[in-house]
Symmetry: C2
Subunit: 276 residues, 2 copies
């Protein structure tokens, strides 16, 4: 692992690191914000999974999360959204291939060799982070935006003991029923829809829910509402009596201005869940 | 004038607008954040002038200023840093021509026809803003980063009655003595250094100072310290007994992580000065 950059921010350090990834078979880059409290010992960790087209950098520079992470003494990790590089397959569309890993382990060609974002986020990157940085394994939360909201919800429900809480900004909520999902799950996992179900937050909410609290924010003026299908997840949360909140934020769109406007609430939500 | 985009942010609206500019002889683009309080009447206005290579967009998406502007009920304007477009001269270097207007009215060819950022910021854009938006002419502040800190300080001292306060992040503080300044002032204004002096914050601080408070933040680990020459401005502020503060922030560099880390202080500083 090598440090690409380390910059002081809000009394802590915003680092960018690159490392060879076994899961993805290429070099992967991530951002890690360590709050000032990390100088004195281990700190909790909040995962931020990003959306389509994003690298590790978008949320790191646009979400405004570090100010609140420093306040609460929580580290933030900003992983990339897919394997990348000259040897990694890609697709001309923005929503498939590089920048669009969808947080699954691809089984279909040409994706199977490199596109293992589920293993990368759930196994390989945690092992690296907890080995190399002062992070408290027992105090983790996870959040994400759009495709990253999908990733956060599905990974949290698959590892219910790992995270104190899960939240999401405008998640792709019901991908097995949406054009944002059917295309990618078919490409990465093949035509058998039984293999898609463990990657659908609404279906997982119906089946198991999450033992901790769940917070979802969705902009009411989001231009992608028909692709995100928030009403399916909201209905599933209500049917399960899932602790937490599903909020429509009137007038907000799908951008980082929306994320930044509510990131303080999400940091406070995770901090409270970690303190319980 | 046309609206390029308008997005909800922190309860207000982050707009981007484009308009034909007489001063610059081309279309100019700016960002304007109106806080929620602007729905009920006129609000104060804080100018944010950006640095080399920036457009209207960098500070708008990276500085994290809107959260605090909403809290204080202050609008933010993010102008571009130069004229732009196919008909506008440019230079291969990043620090001359497009993206590097230096907040002066060029008198030398090939720059004189378009590069009038002083008039644009001090005359044309204010007239447009106060005509079209609910902004309080009598409650203005100005800040900026790097080249934009230079612009904020020099424009504030040239129009001492206009601004309640001025602040800057890592300003180019003494351009007549620095490679960041001599090159551009010579190119834009010609070899007569007497014409450069009204565009040097340190010289202006020596000559007149500013009637309101001045806040300057400078990262102690800024890689451009020798080009910025903060010690010259700090000495001039101290010699004049200028009300305000010059702060070295240990460990911080020249990036927007530095700006974002202290933007809350600057908004609070301007809000307090406007309230006096």
């Amino acid at each position: 692992m090598r440090a690409v950059s380390e910059q002081r921010a809000f009394g802590g350090v915003q680092g960018v690191y690159a490392h060879p990834s076994d899961a993805c078979g290429c070099e992967m880059t991530f951002g890690l914000y360590l709050p000032p409290q990390a100088r004195d010992g281990k700190v909790p960790l909040l995962w931020f999974l990003s959306g389509l087209t994003c690298t590790h950098e978008n949320a790191m520079v646009k979400a405004g999360a570090q100010a609140h992470a420093a306040e609460h003494g929580i580290a933030l990790v900003f992983p990339d959204t897919s394997p990348r590089g000259a040897g990694v397959p890609d697709d001309p569309a923005f929503d498939l291939g590089q920048g669009a890993g969808f947080y699954v382990n691809a089984t279909q060609d040409p994706w199977a060799e490199h596109f293992a974002m589920w293993d990368y986020i759930a196994e390989e990157l945690p092992a690296l982070l907890f080995h190399r940085f002062p992070l408290e394994t027992e105090l983790q939360g996870i959040t994400g935006h759009s495709m990253g909201g999908h990733g956060a919800l599905t990974i949290a429900m698959a590892f219910p003991e790992r995270f104190a809480a899960v939240s999401a900004f405008a998640p792709i909520a019901n991908p097995v029923r949406s054009a944002w999902g059917q295309k990618q799950l078919r490409a990465y996992l093949g035509p058998d829809t039984a293999r898609w179900a463990p990657h659908d937050a609404t279906l997982m909410m119906h089946d198991t829910g999450f033992p901790g609290p769940v917070l979802v924010d969705q902009g009411g003026a989001d231009p992608y509402l028909e692709l995100l299908m928030p009403e399916a997840l909201a209905a599933a949360m209500a049917a399960r009596r899932q602790p937490g909140a599903f909020r429509i934020q009137a007038g907000y769109d799908h951008s980082y201005f929306f994320v930044a406007s509510f990131i303080a609430d999400h940091l406070a939500f995770h901090a409270e869940a970690m303190a319980d």
